[in-house]
Structure formats: structure tokens, C-alpha cells
């Protein structure tokens, strides 16, 4: 019985769509596959996916909607109060809320200071949401920048945070301002801007021109095995063709929470810098996709710690130290002790030779 109800629930949006927009569904000529959000919502998208037919406020990008999990549930799952009077009656009331599905997140968020200021929709556009792995660190930060201007962010952090500009460039806001516990380093192919002060992640179109007929990922993953080795990173960094490009790295959380605030532990720099180099072992290359999302590809362990060529422009003091370099440094320092220890020992044994001549050393 329960299964039947679920099937009915799943089918209901489609049935309603067909009922409300028979022309649209017929015109599409595509049956609902339940996995293709665009065809499932074809009736709505016929108008709302056409920026000439509707205003920008209610325009839905079909490509971005189709990518979301929300699309699988169908427009009418959320816009459940729609009637046959639409579009003559413009307003489409909703009785559903984000919390109906995302109860845990809603409860957690309601306890954060942000909840009183901004609702879910302030950060998340339900028509183009993506998985965390599909979003770049810069995109994550852009959500914060909607309310928190970079000028103010810079000013408040500069009061206490050394090298503020580097931190803000290399760390996603939610790395510190959410209760995340584990972190990874994401790499983005970036372009050195004029003056090369800011590294800008390059979008799909530009990379497509670079890669030609090949897949974008082959710009670095030259053997196209879906895995980035240290050697492939070195080849990319040394390739003169990519002279104007480099790898920008960002520390992002594996799973940010919605308890947005400044956590006490983050005031202590050793939260990151003293976390040990195990944190620096996991990194991913994020490749932009046509729909604006990113696809992550695993990078060989230890790329962040590689001394010279893997990720040359990312270094987290303390946690990013290289073990081999530590040993070389130790050998150099120990070399400085050869003279005091070796010479000092012989000096001690032969002290009588000098004391006979009035030398007190």
C-alpha cells in the first residue's frame, strides 16, 4: 500500500503537468523518464525556461534546473498550490518549505545567528542548487559576499589575521565559519590576471578553447585515466603553452555545517597550521562543466606537500611542511655542529699543549 502511495506521489506532478499544460508536454514529445528533470517539468519550462516569455525574476535556467535533485521531484512538488488558473493568475503559492525535506539542516540553521537575517533562499536558489563537490571555493564565497562585502571582510580579518589577503584568497569562508571538521585542498586552473595579483579560476568556455577537441580534464590528466598524478601536475606546470595559467588552491571543508558562526577553535591558527601534514594529503582537481558546476578528480596523495612542481603556489606553513626538506634542513644544521663537536673534542684532549704556552682556551 505504502509503495502504491509513493508511486502515486511521484507520478502526481507529471499528471498535473500534463493536465495543466497538455500542449507543452505534447510539444516536447518526451515521456517522463524520472531521471531527466527538464522533460519531467517540460510544461513549466516551456514558459519559465524561455527568457523572452517570462521576466528575469521567474526565469528558470533549464540546464541548471535539470542538474538539480529538486528537478527530479518536479516543479509541482514544491509549487503545490498551483491551480488551473495559472498563468492567468500569476502568483503560485507554496505550502511546502525547505524544512519538509531538509529538516536536520533547517533545525541546525535556525540556531545560528544567520537565521534571523536570511532564509534558505538567501543563499540557495532551489532551481540551481548543486552538490558541494560541484561548487568551487570561489562560488561558495560568492554566497557570503552577497551580504558581506569584501571590503568589510578584509577590514575585519586584517585586525587579527596575518597575511589576510592570502587567507581570504585560499580559504573558503565556510572552512572557518561552519562546524566542518575535515578539509581538502581543491585545485582550479586559473589565469594570471594583469599584474598577476589575483588568480582567477578559468571557466568552461576558456578551457574548452585551450583543450580543443579533447576533454577539459586532459589539460592536466594527460593520460585521461580520471586520476591526476604528481607527474601530470608537473608537466602542466612546466608546459609553456599554459604559461599564463597556474593552479589556484583553496582549502574547503568536506562537509560544512549550517551552524554559521565564528568557531572558537578557528581563532587559534594551529587549527590549520598545526594540524599536521595528514590534512594536506587529500586534494582534488576541480574541472568546470558546461552547466556551471565543477567535476572533481582525485589527485595523487601528497601533491600539496610536493616540494617543487606539483602545486607550486600553495603552501600552508606548519601543516604543509615537507618531510624530506625537514631531513635536509636537519643535516645542514647538524653539519654546523661538526666543528664545535669534533674540533671541541680534540681541543679538550690537547688543552695541555696550549696551557703550557699561557693559552687559556
Amino acid at each position: 500500500m505504502k509503495t502504491r502511495i509513493m508511486i502515486l506521489q511521484q507520478m502526481l506532478p507529471l499528471l498535473l503537468t500534463l493536465l495543466l499544460f497538455p500542449g507543452g508536454a505534447a510539444a516536447s514529445g518526451v515521456a517522463d523518464t524520472f531521471s531527466d528533470g527538464v522533460s519531467k517539468n517540460a510544461g513549466c519550462i516551456k514558459c519559465h525556461g524561455d527568457n523572452k516569455a517570462v521576466s528575469a525574476r521567474v526565469y528558470i535556467d533549464p540546464l541548471k534546473l535539470g542538474h538539480t535533485t529538486h528537478a527530479r521531484f518536479g516543479c509541482i512538488t514544491c509549487h503545490d498550490a498551483i491551480t488551473t488558473a495559472h498563468p492567468a493568475v500569476k502568483a503560485v503559492a507554496r505550502t511546502t518549505t525547505c524544512g519538509d525535506c531538509h529538516a536536520d539542516v533547517t533545525v541546525e540553521y535556525s540556531r545560528s545567528p544567520h537565521a534571523a537575517k536570511v532564509s534558505c533562499g538567501g543563499c540557495h536558489n532551489p532551481h540551481q542548487v548543486s552538490e558541494l563537490v560541484e561548487v568551487s571555493g570561489d562560488d561558495l564565497n560568492k554566497q557570503c559576499n552577497k551580504c558581506h562585502s569584501m571590503i568589510k571582510i578584509n577590514a575585519s580579518h586584517a585586525k587579527w589575521l596575518p597575511q589576510t589577503d592570502i587567507h581570504l584568497e585560499s580559504v573558503a569562508c565556510v572552512t572557518c565559519h561552519s562546524g566542518a571538521e575535515n578539509f581538502i585542498v581543491n585545485l582550479y586552473i586559473s589565469r594570471k590576471q594583469d599584474g598577476r595579483v589575483n588568480l582567477v579560476p578559468v571557466g568552461y568556455e576558456e578551457l574548452k578553447k585551450l583543450s580543443g577537441n579533447n576533454e577539459l580534464k586532459t589539460l592536466i590528466d594527460s593520460n585521461n585515466d580520471g586520476y591526476v598524478s604528481l607527474n601530470e601536475l608537473r608537466i602542466f606546470n612546466r608546459n609553456e603553452v599554459y604559461h599564463d595559467y597556474c593552479l589556484k588552491s583553496m582549502l574547503t571543508p568536506v562537509k560544512p555545517t549550517h551552524a554559521f558562526k565564528t568557531f572558537e577553535s578557528r581563532w587559534n591558527c594551529t587549527f590549520c597550521h598545526g594540524s599536521g601534514n595528514q590534512t594536506m594529503q587529500t586534494s582534488f582537481l576541480s574541472i568546470p562543466q558546461k552547466d556551471g558546476t565543477y567535476a572533481r578528480m582525485a589527485v595523487e596523495k601528497g601533491a600539496v606537500l610536493d616540494v617543487l612542481n606539483a602545486i607550486p603556489d600553495f603552501y600552508l606553513t606548519g601543516a604543509g611542511r615537507n618531510a624530506l626538506l625537514n631531513k635536509i634542513g636537519l643535516v645542514i644544521i647538524a653539519g654546523g655542529l661538526i666543528m664545535p663537536v669534533g674540533h671541541g673534542f680534540l681541543r679538550f684532549l690537547t688543552r695541555k699543549n696550549r696551557s703550557d704556552k699561557g693559552d687559556r682556551s
Partner: protein, 226 residues
């Protein structure tokens, strides 16, 4: 054998030396905490270590400027004091090495007798040339760039990235640390363990009166002959 006092270390050099010494020791300690925060939490917070490291770095860079300005602009003895001459390279280095590594143990006197114009023996000259004209400028410059990654991003990328820069800074700092051990030890090899250290504080070094030297530098001996 009578003694005389030679004014070997003028005030600007002494100020530079001790400022430099304090700065470098501070840099080594704070640098150790910055690289190994889990194991060397000597200075309290990581931020305190960073700020102290940056401050000490600026002090050392400024004191280096004092040193350079004094020798180059005021004393005009930079090259003479620090650059080994032909004699130093052909015989002096060997003679001094034989003394340190062999003759010293038999109680033979140091073949080099410092004067204000020739205060370093050939081995010292060579070592200081390397330290002051290569190691110190490089470690200071890499440090200055590391302190200003954002504004100097273009230079950082030109050098090869932040990681290469920090690697260079670390290895140069280790070399400086190694030199420090040897330097402090060699400073105790005078007639008494403090014989070479005291002049760096007072400016005056006690020398044995010898006939074979001093003939060209009597004017530098001054009134404190005893």
C-alpha cells in the same frame, strides 16, 4: 710579552652585530615554531610566533643595512675587509686551515693578527663573504617576499611559486643556523674563551706585542697600549 689593545670593532659594527645576533636567535626560535607548531610551541600562540618572526626579520634586514652603510659609505673598507685578496686565496686560506685543524692543537699561535683594516683571517673573510653577500641577502629577501605574498604575487610566480620560495627560505635559514654554531664556537678559540667575544662588546681587542706586525698599524693601537 707585552700587551696592547687594538680598537677593532667600531660602535656601528658592534650595534649591528648584537642586533643581528638577537634577531637571528629570535628568528630561529620563532621559525622553528612556525614550521613545527605541534612540537615547538615556545612563544605561545602561532600568531605571536608569526608576528615576532616578521618583526625580527625586519630588524635583521635593517641591521644588515646599517652594516652595509657603515662599511661601504663611512669606513670605505667593505671590499678590503670582506673580499679575500690574492695572497689570502693562494696561501692564506691554506695557512689558516692548517692552523685551525692541526697547529692549534699543538699550541702554535694563530698566524693571523687582526688590525682594524685586516681584522679577519682569510678563512673568516671567505666565510663572511658567503654569509654577508649571499646568505643574508637571500634569506632576508625571501623573507620579505614571504611577508608580502599578495602584493608581490608577480614576483612569487616568477620565482616559481610560494613553495619554492619557502623552501629556499627554510634551507637558507638552516644554513644560517649551522653557521651560527660554528661562528660561536670559533669565537671561543682566542687566548681565552672570551678573548674574541669581549672585543665585540667593548670594541678593543687585546693583542700580544710582536715585532713582526704592528709596524703598519701603530696608528690604530691608540692610547690604551698597556
Amino acid at each position: 710579552m707585552s700587551k696592547k689593545l687594538v680598537y677593532l670593532q667600531p660602535a656601528p659594527v658592534r650595534i649591528w652585530h648584537w642586533l643581528n645576533a638577537l634577531g637571528i636567535v629570535t628568528l630561529i626560535i620563532s621559525g622553528a615554531q612556525i614550521r613545527f607548531p605541534e612540537y615547538v610551541p615556545i612563544l605561545g600562540s602561532y600568531r605571536a610566533a608569526i608576528n615576532l618572526h616578521n618583526t625580527a626579520g625586519i630588524v635583521v634586514a635593517l641591521s644588515f643595512s646599517i652594516w652595509f652603510f657603515y662599511y661601504k659609505m663611512l669606513a670605505h673598507t667593505l671590499e678590503k675587509t670582506y673580499v679575500p685578496n690574492t695572497e689570502d686565496l693562494t696561501t692564506g686560506l691554506f695557512r689558516q686551515a692548517v692552523f685551525y685543524f692541526l697547529m692549534y692543537f699543538f699550541g702554535t699561535p694563530n698566524p693571523h693578527h687582526p688590525t682594524p683594516e685586516h681584522k679577519f683571517n682569510p678563512l673568516q673573510k671567505s666565510a663572511y663573504l658567503l654569509i654577508m653577500f649571499l646568505l643574508m641577502p637571500l634569506v632576508s629577501l625571501t623573507g620579505i617576499v614571504l611577508m608580502n605574498i599578495g602584493p608581490m604575487r608577480e614576483l612569487v610566480l616568477m620565482i616559481g611559486g610560494m613553495k619554492l620560495l619557502s623552501t629556499l627560505h627554510f634551507l637558507l635559514a638552516c644554513s644560517l643556523c649551522a653557521f651560527l654554531f660554528t661562528h660561536v664556537y670559533l669565537a671561543t678559540l682566542g687566548k681565552s674563551p672570551m678573548a674574541y667575544i669581549k672585543p665585540m662588546w667593548t670594541g678593543w681587542e687585546e693583542e700580544d706585542e710582536r715585532e713582526d706586525h704592528g709596524k703598519h698599524d701603530d696608528h690604530e693601537v691608540g692610547d690604551k697600549r698597556q
